[in-house]
C-alpha cells in the first residue's frame, strides 16, 4: 500500500496510507496533480495543507484511518455481522464527535476545506445536537450569540413561533 505525507500548517508531517488520505477529495485531487508532476524518483508524495493546523489534522486523520479500516473489513467478506459493524462504527462516530465547541468548529471547517463528506456530515450532526431541543436563550449561551432583535420584532417572532415555545409560556404563568 502506497503512503503519502500530509504536512499541516505548523509543519508537522503525518504519514498515512493513500487510501485514508483519499477520503479527502481535496487531498485526492492534489495527489493526482502531484502524481502527474512527479519525476519518478520520489517514492513518497508530500501534500502541504497550509490551511489546517496540526491538532485538527490529527483528529481528521483519526477519522479517515478508522473509516478506511472498517471499509476494508467490510469488503473482505460480507459476514453476517455487517449490521453489527455498522453499529460499532456509529458508536465510534458518536464518541469521536464528543469534543469542545471550539474543536468542533475547527473540525467542521477542516472537513469543509478538505472536502471529506462523511466527516462534514458527522460534524454538522454534532453541532445540530448542541442546538436540538434547547431554548433560544440556551442556544445563544451555547454559541455566544447576541440577541439582535428589537423589542417589537422579538414579540412578533415569539408570537409566530409560539407553537414551539408554548410550554415556556405556561411555565411563565405558573
Amino acid at each position: 500500500m502506497c503512503s503519502v505525507i500530509l504536512r499541516s500548517s505548523d509543519g508537522a508531517d503525518h504519514v498515512v496510507s493513500q487510501e485514508a488520505a483519499s477520503l479527502s477529495k481535496t487531498v485526492q485531487s492534489l495527489l493526482e496533480e502531484l502524481e502527474a508532476a512527479k519525476d519518478g524518483e520520489e517514492s513518497i508524495l508530500i501534500v502541504p495543507l497550509p490551511n489546517v493546523c496540526d491538532c485538527t489534522l490529527r483528529k481528521v486523520l483519526q477519522y479517515c484511518i478508522q473509516h478506511t479500516m472498517s471499509a476494508q473489513q467490510v469488503t473482505e467478506g460480507p459476514t453476517p455481522s455487517d449490521e453489527l459493524k455498522k453499529r460499532e462504527m456509529e458508536a465510534w462516530d458518536r464518541d469521536y464527535i464528543m469534543v469542545s465547541t471550539d474543536e468542533l468548529y475547527h473540525l467542521v471547517m477542516a472537513a469543509h476545506y478538505l472536502n471529506v463528506p462523511g466527516l462534514l456530515e458527522l460534524c454538522c450532526e454534532g453541532i445540530a445536537n448542541l442546538i436540538r431541543g434547547k431554548s433560544p436563550e440556551h442556544v445563544r449561551q451555547c454559541f455566544g450569540l447576541v440577541k439582535d432583535f428589537e423589542a417589537p420584532e422579538e414579540e412578533s417572532i415569539r408570537c409566530t413561533n409560539l407553537w414551539a415555545l408554548v410550554d415556556e409560556k405556561e411555565q411563565a404563568k405558573k
Binding site: 454538522c124 433560544p136 442556544v139 454559541f143 450569540l145 447576541v146 417572532i157 407553537w163 411555565q171 405558573k174
Partner: protein
Amino acid sequence: MIMYGLRLRHTSKQVAELSLLQAKLPEEILTQILSKLPSLSLGLAQCVCKQFRSLCCTDTLWRPASVEAFWQEFSREAAPVASIHALVRSQYRGSWHKMFMERPHLRFDGLYVSRNTYIRTGLVEWRVKNPVHLVCYYRYFRFFPDGTLLYRTSPEVPVQVQRSMRTLVRNRMDEGVLRGRYLLRKDNLFTSLPLGNTAGTEIRTRLRLRSTCRGGNNRLDVDKILSYDRGSDLGVPMLDHANGEEEEEVGGRQYRRGLAPYTFVAWEHMQDSILNLPVHKMDFYVAG
C-alpha cells in the same frame, strides 16, 4: 492567524464563551446543520437571532417535516409524496413552511396528555370525618407518521410514562401500552384501539384537533369514546376503509368519563410540564 480563508482571532479568556462557532461559520454550513434539526428545534432556533431566523426560514428545511406530517393523510394514494408536492404548490404557494404552519397535522415529537381528575367519597368511619379523595389519572396518545398510535391510561405523570411510549420497537403490553391506528381528515381524528382481550373489545375515539396558537396543533378535544365487543367477528370493518364519515355502528357503549381535552407536550418540554404536578399542587387542569 488566517485559516480556511478567514481571519481568526484566538479566543482570549474574557470572551471564552464566545466560541468560534458563532458568526464565523459560513451560511452554507449553518444551513446544513439546521437541516438536521427537527421542526420544533427549527421553530426555537428562529427566536435566537436575526441570522438564525432568516436561515431557518429557508423553505427546503421544512420539507422533510411537512412530508412526514402529511404522509398519513395521503397514504392511500398511489404516490403520497407526489400528492403532497401537488398540494403545496396548489394551496400554499409552494411554501413548505406555510403548509406546515397552516394545515392541521398531528405532532409526532411528544405526547398528547389528557389529565382527568374526579372526586371519590371515601369510607366513613365513626361519622367523624367525611373523607373525599381526589383521584387523578392520565390518558396518553402517541402518534407515529405511518398511522400507528400508542395509547396508555395510567395514574403516572408524563415524565414517568414517556420512556414507555417513545418508540414502537418493543411491545409494551405489560406496561399497559396499547397499539392502534388513527386517521386524520382535516381536523377530525379517528382512532381505533383493539384491547386484545377475549371479548375482542375495540375502543374507538372521535377527537378534534385544534390549535391554541398558529401551527400549534396542540389540543385534542374528545368528541366521543365508544367501545365495541367484536368477539371473534373479524367481519367488522376496522378503521381502514373509513373516510371518517362512517355512520355510527350499533351496539357501542359510550364512555362518559375521562373526556378531558388532550394537551400536547413535546419530549423536550416533558420534564417541566405543569401536567406533572401532583393533585395537591394542582387539583384541576383546564386545557385552554
